[in-house]
């Protein structure tokens, strides 16, 4: 029987072209209706270091990277070494490796599982048959296509798309190499059905990473000013918006630092143009003062934090969920909101929700994404995007010459219509100083109380309008898991497997983190006797946050956490479920 789920990893040095190869596989498969989830991984060298790419291919939308690698291709064992802790090989997995590599594979592979090793003369074929040593990655592509039954037409199309127009000669050589690899596999490669990926109907899927999805969401939400300073893993947002915003009359500026980036956005938004900035932990730390200004002056602003391992420079290329308390804590009481996307597609939606929230409630809104969502590529169905487009405009005042405009007029919702420059009669003074209704500075503590009440009143509206959470599993289970962000994938797949095993369990993944989405949380907690918070934060930030801010938590409220970098696997989560839902099996 052919398979419908395959996880593939390619490893080599930067010059080996494994990233291009994985990218071709992802694009070709996606164009043919196969869902991919693709992750790149690099050594610390700026150029030419080790690199690897992992593609999970599946007939259904993949929820996680897949626990085990079914097929591994290694150009050089020394380069592969760096990734050994990221590649968990499935027993019986196929391992194709460069025949000319002098190292012994046994030195790099786990001794306790059986594997199917096969040496392949990638280099030799590229050199002798094609005459271009650099094409060995296309030889590999041909080999893989033949063994795993990939759509070869689409792969060749991907090669042509990349080289065809600009470098027809290179395209021809690459195609030749592909065919040579295929021929080799036809003669020497394994020919088993269980290695072959079944085609999946052919609906054309699109491919994007989380940062791009988020940037596109921002464009659709009406963001027309973006300023940012490059930082991994948020940089793709800057790159994408630079390509797209100017066409829509927007502005993108690469700022001199993150302080400039966020303050430019404060200025643009104050002037009436929707604005967004993005960074990661260290850059967000530099932005904190300006977030306080946006809070005090009630200026809409969207700030994206694509979290990486911290503190400080940490591990830029790996995810963590330990910037939650940073996002919560600013100087002074700053009513604001925090949203968290749970996968690539969700980034699109969350960007629109965040911008809508910031505009409606005139406050800074933080999006907490992470490296695993931001930089991984996913295949997605196109029809799920446009139907969700959401744009919210801020309240403008009705101005009249008889009445002096009161920028910070008290209101039940806490929102007061905001004049923007150009509106006659709306002139007022904005400042980070505490102020009265007109905006004039005051040091009266009475006003500070009143204005703090006004600003905080908005949180009620935010919790009402933006309480959205995903719930998986058995509603009436007594054991529940709470997690957020990119952990959703592994948790969701673990829940499906647990249900297959007859275990009862439910999971809750909120999109709104702050203010507490109490309505959906309380609904979820009904009947739960034991709840466990799962997170990639050594200090269990989410767990402590919920303990401090949420209500209706059960007595048995547990934490399972660890430092970031190493994602939770489906198997790991499943084990937790087996341990904790045991009482229900007995019942």
């Amino acid at each position: 029987m052919k398979i419908n789920d395959l996880t593939l990893t390619l490893a080599g040095s930067g010059g080996d072209g494994v990233i291009t190869t994985g990218d071709f596989i992802t694009r070709a498969a996606s164009s043919d209706g196969i869902y991919c989830l693709t992750q790149m991984s690099y050594g610390p060298q700026i150029r030419g270091g080790e690199s690897s790419i992992r593609v999970r291919m599946s007939h259904k939308q993949a929820q996680s990277r897949g626990d085990f690698v079914d097929s591994l291709l290694v150009f050089s064992w020394k380069d592969y070494k760096r990734f050994t802790d990221e590649v968990e090989l499935r027993p019986g997995a196929l391992v194709l490796y460069e025949e000319a590599d002098k190292e012994s594979p046994a030195d790099f592979l786990p001794a306790d599982i059986e594997l199917r090793l096969q040496a392949v003369p990638f280099k030799k074929i590229a050199q002798e048959d094609v005459g271009v040593p650099l094409t060995k990655n296309m030889v590999a592509l041909g080999v893989l296509a033949e063994i795993h039954g990939f759509n070869q037409e689409r792969l060749k199309q991907a090669i042509m798309d990349k080289y065809g127009k600009k470098r027809p000669e290179a395209a021809a050589k690459n195609i030749e190499a592909f065919d040579a690899g295929k021929a080799w596999a036809q003669e020497h490669g394994p020919k088993e059905e269980r290695l072959q990926l079944e085609p999946n109907g052919g609906e054309r899927l699109l491919v994007m990473n989380g940062d791009e999805a988020l940037a596109y969401g921002a464009l659709q939400a009406g963001v027309r000013y973006y300023a940012g300073y490059p930082i991994t893993p948020a940089t793709p947002i800057l790159h994408w918006l630079q390509q797209e915003l100017p066409r829509f009359g927007g502005t993108v500026i690469q700022a001199e630092d993150e302080i400039s980036a966020i303050t430019q956005c404060v200025g643009a938004s104050w002037a009436g143009v929707k604005a967004m900035t993005a960074s990661s932990g260290p850059g967000i730390a530099l932005m904190m003062e300006a977030m306080g200004l946006a809070g005090m002056a009630e200026i809409p602003l969207t700030i994206v934090n694509v979290q990486r391992v911290g503190p400080s420079t940490g591990i830029p290329s790996k995810p963590e969920q330990a910037d939650l308390l940073q996002a919560l804590g600013m100087h002074g009481d700053v009513p604001h909101a925090i949203f968290a996307p749970a996968d690539v597609e969700d980034c699109f939606q969350v960007a629109m929700e965040a911008v809508a929230c910031s505009e409606r409630y005139q406050m800074p809104v933080i999006i907490l994404s992470d490296q695993f969502i931001g930089e991984r590529f996913e295949s997605l169905r196109g029809d799920r995007f446009l139907e969700r487009v959401k744009q919210v405009e801020r309240d403008l005042p009705e101005l009249s010459p008889e009445r002096k405009y009161q920028r910070y007029a008290f209101s039940e919702s806490g929102v007061s219509p905001m004049a923007v420059p150009g509106l006659e009669g709306g002139q007022y003074i904005t400042s980070g100083l505490e102020h009265d209704e007109s905006g004039a500075p005051t040091s009266s503590s009475e006003y500070h109380q009143l204005m703090s009440d006004k600003r905080a009143a908005k949180l009620k509206g935010v919790a009402e309008d933006f309480d959205f959470a995903r719930v998986y599993g058995n509603k009436d289970a007594e054991f529940g898991i709470i997690c957020w962000g990119s952990l959703k994938g592994a948790v969701r797949e673990a829940i499906m497997r647990a249900q297959d095993e007859g275990l009862k369990v439910a999971a809750y993944v909120p999109q709104l983190l702050y203010p507490v989405p109490q309505r959906s949380l309380s609904e979820f907690l009904k009947g739960k006797r034991k709840v466990m918070v799962l997170e990639l934060s050594h200090g269990a930030q989410f767990y402590h946050y919920l303990k401090g801010y949420a209500t209706d938590l059960p007595e048995e409220f547990l934490s399972h956490c660890r430092a970031g970098g190493h994602l939770f696997s489906i198997e790991e989560v499943l084990k937790l479920i087996r341990t904790h839902s045991v009482s229900e099996l007995v019942a």
């Binding site: 659709q220 700022a255 200025g267 002037a271 446009l386």
Partner: protein, 288 residues
């Protein structure tokens, strides 16, 4: 109905002014009121942006869209305003600490970008609001709250610095000479690009009341003296002047491309390669 002619009075506000009597910043405020009246800028089209400091309280005292922001960040905030709303007239105000200490990093890059705005630095050689510490322009030896035995760091020369950074409009003025200052503000606001006006604006509370006399005695009106503000070498010499304090337009480059123009060109370029009718169509670029 004929448009109402705006006068300086129309730009006043009733926000309570907190400056000390005799503070040089009053002269700057007057000059601004007169300049924007001369330019007949509708108050709603005028954005006045500042950082933090005594001087940065100024936007509250101008009938305009005012924004008293945070310390040192007036320029990037104003850049965001100017770049996103090229239809507005943008005036930025602040102190020497705001501009040349905490905001120094942004100052450099604002000059590079050349946004269309006029930056009035009220240079009093002291931190007024925090009550008398030394600033980047405090002369060596002057006692300050933070260094009672005399300021030890060498002062920076904002004029030479800005000129070296290829500022496109550079002037210096004295808040005691409101007429010249007003004229320079008018010229600065007519300049397409970044106009820097460094204004000697005495802090009577923390630096005594002798500075007015000093600037009157040592002031050198380069406008009257026939300085050619297109002569870069002469401009550099003026910034190096030790005996006299130059007041007037030092340098102007009308040909430099402003940030707003640059962004317009960019939008045109991208529009040629990105031929969509609407944002929905962008989705197709993602298809594998």
């Amino acid at each position: 109905m004929a448009e109402k002619v705006l006068t300086a009075k129309d730009y006043r506000t009733d926000v309570q002014n907190i400056w000390c009597p005799g503070c040089g910043d009053f002269g700057v405020l007057n000059a601004i009121h007169q300049a924007v009246a001369e330019l007949q800028i509708p108050p709603q089209d005028l954005a006045v942006i500042s950082g933090i400091g005594c001087s940065s309280r100024l936007p509250g005292y101008v009938n305009a869209y005012g924004f008293n922001t945070i310390h040192g960040r007036a320029l990037p905030i104003a850049t965001g305003v100017s770049a996103s709303r090229p239809d507005l007239r943008v005036l930025v105000a602040g102190g020497d600490g705001d501009a040349y200490a905490i905001g120094a990093g942004h100052f450099v890059h604002a000059l590079r970008r050349n946004p269309n705005l006029t930056y009035i630095v009220m240079d009093n050689s002291v931190y007024g609001l925090t009550k008398g510490q030394g600033s980047p322009t405090t002369p060596v030896g002057d006692p300050t709250k933070s260094q009672p035995f005399g300021h030890s760091e060498r002062p920076l020369n904002p004029l030479a610095w800005a000129l070296a950074l290829e500022v496109t409009f550079l002037a210096q003025a004295f808040s005691g000479q409101v007429k010249q200052l007003k004229d320079l503000i008018v010229k600065g606001m007519r300049h397409e690009g970044f106009a820097l006006i460094n204004v000697k604006s005495p802090c009577v509370t923390f630096r005594g009341n002798q500075e007015y006399n000093y600037y009157r005695e040592h002031g050198w009106n380069i406008d009257k003296d026939g300085h050619d503000y297109h002569d870069r070498e002469a401009a550099f010499r003026i910034t190096q002047e030790k005996e006299r304090v130059p007041f007037g337009l030092i340098w102007q480059d009308e040909n430099a491309v402003s940030l707003g123009k640059q962004l317009e060109l960019e939008r045109e370029k991208y529009s040629k390669v990105r031929q969509y009718d609407n944002a929905d169509e962008v989705l197709r670029t993602f298809f594998a």
